[in-house]
């Protein structure tokens, strides 16, 4: 292969080398009574092909907004992408027309959601809902699609697929519904699956089964997954890379093993400590005092500064940018934990 400069790369080569999805400086703002309020700010990340990116954060951190914005699933009356790009297959999804985007939704990028009951149309049969994307994108006839639905249901471990196809969501258990959602997401063999808290609403034993299923499908199909969750345990077991979000910003990005070994951001550290304490049965939990600031009341500097035990005047000036602190790791903190050598200029 002859060396070439970046812009001369053939599309094929770029596809091989570039990550499957690259998000650059994505900002999304909501229209509220108090005017435009930033929900996510300058978020950038990559999803390499065949890898799992975990996005973790507490409620209000912007993790779900990030997921929904990738496919522009938030109606424009409610929120708008104010800046940034989402590169997928050489195209910027934020600039595609609605019609072009529809060809990507469900076909190349699929989604599954938190509540499998409300995510499925309650009055359409399982079979009809599963057939729909294939009829739409692959131009399949109903009979052909039905055969494929059977295979899919089998794939996601639903016994008696024929019977299930005629049933309605309310006749299925929560775990089954989520399996149906997964089958639906996989029906057009997408390259990327965005899973928005796929197990949160499920019982713990079911949750484990669904995670198992996702994991095995991921390795069998070579799928890329963005996994949104608030549960660090889920991330630990499932993701390759992780991005921690707080108050609309990505504050830390790292490989999973790295982050659990040594969290860099004080918030990440705090979260991990609580979970570790819970698992360790110690007398008193370490905790992060205070609450997540509301989007319209963000402090001028680091959003975590008011709750941060390490904060000082440097933190309150302006939000620290997400900066590399070691190979493959980035952190948005003036003084990251465990990286004393790093002093970012705010």
């Amino acid at each position: 292969m002859t060396p070439a400069t970046d812009h001369e790369l053939s599309p094929v080569l770029r596809k091989q080398d570039a990550p499957l999805l690259r998000v650059e400086n994505l900002s999304v703002a909501f229209h509220t009574r108090n005017g435009l309020v930033r929900a996510i700010e300058e978020v950038s990340f990559e999803v390499p092909a065949g890898k799992v990116l975990g996005i973790v954060g507490e409620s209000g951190s912007g993790k779900s907004v990030t997921a929904l914005s990738l496919l522009r699933l938030i109606p424009s009356e409610i929120a708008e992408i104010s800046s940034g790009s989402v590169w997928f297959g050489g195209r910027d999804l934020t600039r595609l027309s609605e019609r072009e985007l529809r060809r990507i939704r469900g076909r190349e990028i699929a989604m599954i959601f938190q509540e499998p009951m409300t995510s499925l149309n309650p009055i359409a049969s399982v079979g009809a809902q599963l057939r729909e994307p294939m009829q739409l994108h692959l131009g399949m006839k109903a009979a052909e699609a039905s055969r494929r639905v059977e295979e899919l249901l089998d794939l996601v471990g639903i016994p008696q697929p024929r019977k299930r196809m005629t049933q309605y969501p309310h006749e299925l258990s929560g775990g089954m519904r989520q399996r149906v959602m997964i089958a639906m997401a996989l029906s057009c063999e997408p390259k990327l699956l965005i899973a928005d808290e796929p197990t949160t609403a499920l019982d713990v034993t079911t949750q484990a089964q669904i995670l198992d299923l996702l994991r095995s499908l991921q390795s069998r199909l070579g799928l890329s997954i963005i996994l949104i969750t608030h549960d660090l345990g889920v991330v630990a077991q499932f993701a390759d890379n992780v991005q921690v979000m707080y108050a609309g910003r990505a504050i830390e990005q790292a490989a999973v093993a790295e982050i659990f070994r040594q969290p860099a951001h004080p918030y990440t550290e705090g979260l991990l400590k609580i979970v570790a304490d819970l698992e360790a049965e110690c007398g008193r939990l370490s905790s992060i005092e205070g609450t997540v600031p509301a989007p319209h009341e963000l402090p001028p500097g680091c959003a975590f500064a008011p709750r941060c035990p390490r904060s000082d005047t440097a933190c309150t000036a302006s939000p620290p940018p997400l900066s590399p602190i070691s190979p493959g790791r980035r952190c948005a903190c003036v003084r990251p934990v465990g990286f004393p050598q790093f002093r970012a200029s705010a």
């Binding site: 229209h31 509220t32 009574r33 009356e77 409610i78």
Partner: protein
């Protein structure tokens, strides 16, 4: 939320503006009306309003078939129409809310009794009911209010019943019971306050319905007896003269549209304002 030009605030302000104006008109009728609404002048019958050929400024909206000043009659009609609408609404609201509250909270046999009775009444066309009552007991303001009031209670009963049934299982009701709150305490302190706003909306809209219903009864000759002016009977009297003297029916019709429109706007705006889901954003 993007600023919406035609949102609930617009509706509420517009609706309330019309309602207040109408109420003022009713209250100040004796001062505003240029003539006695009952004063006949047979030599000045069916004069058109000032803007039509042959009309004069003497009777701005023209005269009716007894030569009575239409404007004055409409202004005085405001009093009766609003009074009848409000009083009959209040009657059906009180009857229905009590029935619904009891049925919803007590459940069991009482619920069956009340709600099935409401069902039966619901299946019985209310105009028919009103006709029978009015035909049987004649037309007076009191009878009219009674008839309209009784024919509307089921709406409230069903509404309150549904609300109470869903509220009954909310944790804060359970909490109140766990602290020893009795039926009356829970109903008055926890259930009614949640219901009243929604009830207000429905009741507001109901006033409009009652005004229309009064007009319908007048059409059938079962409204308030003449010469007392109500919009309904002015409109009903005017309908035979739609060809010769269209302004009588049309002025009364527009008056009805105006207040009913105002009430509906206000009620719908209020409903949107109180809708918890709309509120979240």
């Amino acid at each position: 939320m993007k600023r919406s030009l035609f949102g609930k605030r617009f509706k509420i302000v517009l609706g309330a503006g019309i309602i207040v104006a109408m109420c003022l008109l009713a209250a100040l009728a004796p001062y505003l009306a240029p003539y006695d609404p009952l004063q006949q002048d047979l030599l000045r019958r069916l004069k058109p309003p000032f803007f039509m050929a042959g009309g004069t400024a003497k009777n701005l909206l023209g005269t009716d078939n007894y030569g009575r000043d239409l404007l004055s009659r409409l202004i005085f009609g405001t009093q009766t129409s609003i009074m009848v609408g409000t009083a009959s609404m209040a009657l059906s609201c009180i009857l229905g809310a009590i029935a619904g509250l009891i049925a919803g909270y007590k459940g069991g046999r009482i619920e069956q009794l009340i709600m099935r009775f409401a069902d039966a009444h619901m299946a019985f066309p209310d105009v028919l009911f009103a006709i029978i009552m009015a035909a049987a007991f004649g037309g007076s303001t009191f009878n009219l209010i009674l008839v309209l009031g009784i024919s509307g209670w089921m709406i409230y009963a069903r509404l309150v019943f549904g609300l109470v049934r869903s509220l009954k299982h909310r944790s804060f009701v359970e909490a109140a019971v766990s602290y020893g709150g009795g039926d009356r305490y829970v109903m008055s302190r926890h259930l009614l306050p949640q219901i009243v706003p929604i009830l207000t909306v429905v009741a507001t809209l109901q006033v409009a319905q009652m005004i229309l219903q009064e007009a319908a009864l007048s059409f059938l000759g079962l409204g308030l007896p003449p010469p007392a002016p109500t919009w309904g009977n002015i409109l009903a009297e005017g309908r035979d003269r739609m060809f010769g003297a269209p302004w009588i029916a049309n002025c009364a019709g527009i008056a009805i549209i105006l207040i009913v429109f105002g009430i509906n706007m206000f009620g719908n705006g209020l409903r949107e304002y109180l809708d918890p889901q709309a509120k979240q954003r």
